[in-house]
Assembly symmetry: C2
Homo-oligomer: 166 residues x 2
């Protein structure tokens, strides 16, 4: 079935490229995880809180977390369970569609987010963005955006629910 050369495949430049991406990402997130943990949060809990904080009215439907966080529907339920237990988030009914629930960030949640953010940004700067000259950082982000848009259709900034993603 396969008449290629395994030894040659093992040496392929694509393995190296993917390896660099993995190691850069995993190394970075490991450092960020330590700082996030100092504030009593897991990375995924922080991400949910961050998305809620960035959302215009501090609320998002449960479903809206799935795609961007690469968490399953039940995974979202469980993260929000923990955040709600800690009073960082509350669940609220959706008036227009009674199947849906909103997760709303609480004042306590905003306070916690505000406590984590400065150190978080500082670390991203120290280990990532400030390591590269502006032009190279800019080029890097353009390349990442290209890959991201290919691999996660419908994640490009807008990602509005109005469709018309032409």
């Amino acid at each position: 079935l396969y008449d290629g050369d395994v030894a040659h495949d093992l040496d392929d430049a694509r393995i190296t490229a993917m390896g660099l991406l993995s190691e850069a990402y995993l190394g970075l997130t490991a450092r960020l995880a330590c700082q996030i943990a100092e504030h009593g949060l897991s990375p995924i809990e922080f991400e949910v809180l961050l998305r809620l904080g960035r959302s215009p009215d501090g609320q998002l439907r449960m479903t809206d977390f799935s795609a961007p966080t690469s968490l399953s529907a039940s995974g979202v339920t469980r993260v929000v369970d923990r955040l709600e237990r800690d009073r960082l988030v509350a669940r609220r009914a959706c008036a227009s569609d009674r199947r849906s629930l909103y997760a709303v960030i609480t004042d306590t949640g905003r306070t916690r987010l505000g406590a984590v953010l400065p150190g978080h940004l500082k670390l991203i700067g120290e280990w990532f963005t400030e390591r590269l000259p502006p032009a190279e950082l800019s080029a890097l982000l353009d390349s990442l955006r290209l890959v991201r848009n290919a691999v996660r259709p419908g994640a490009e900034a807008g990602a509005v629910r109005t469709g018309a993603t032409a």
Copy 2:
């Protein structure tokens, strides 16, 4: 304690940069995971098999997996447990240090690896490396290498156990 502006922090360019890196990486790995799963492996099992395949004599000490895979010591034990159960890897005693164990890839393991690799490389090409013009890919990899070397000291290709990492 913190006199910054949370709303402003939430809009910071560093959040965007980290978000792009995350989404590109997670989107890519999600696609790769599907193909790997078609061959009855999890991503981490595939990675262990790949590292063994790339190692000169097809064997690596348990400890050598921890750092590069960002898996804990017990995590390594458990992945190798599963791979050994499936006869893709075997444990072998280390003559020079009886505390250590080698994980050795079996013939079955090499066959399985050979079955996954072509499709794996194809996907990396389609969704990542071939999406960018050579010069931009090259620049991207240089930037990632810079970040990787900062964030994972002692991961730069060689990473030989002989020390002398000056």
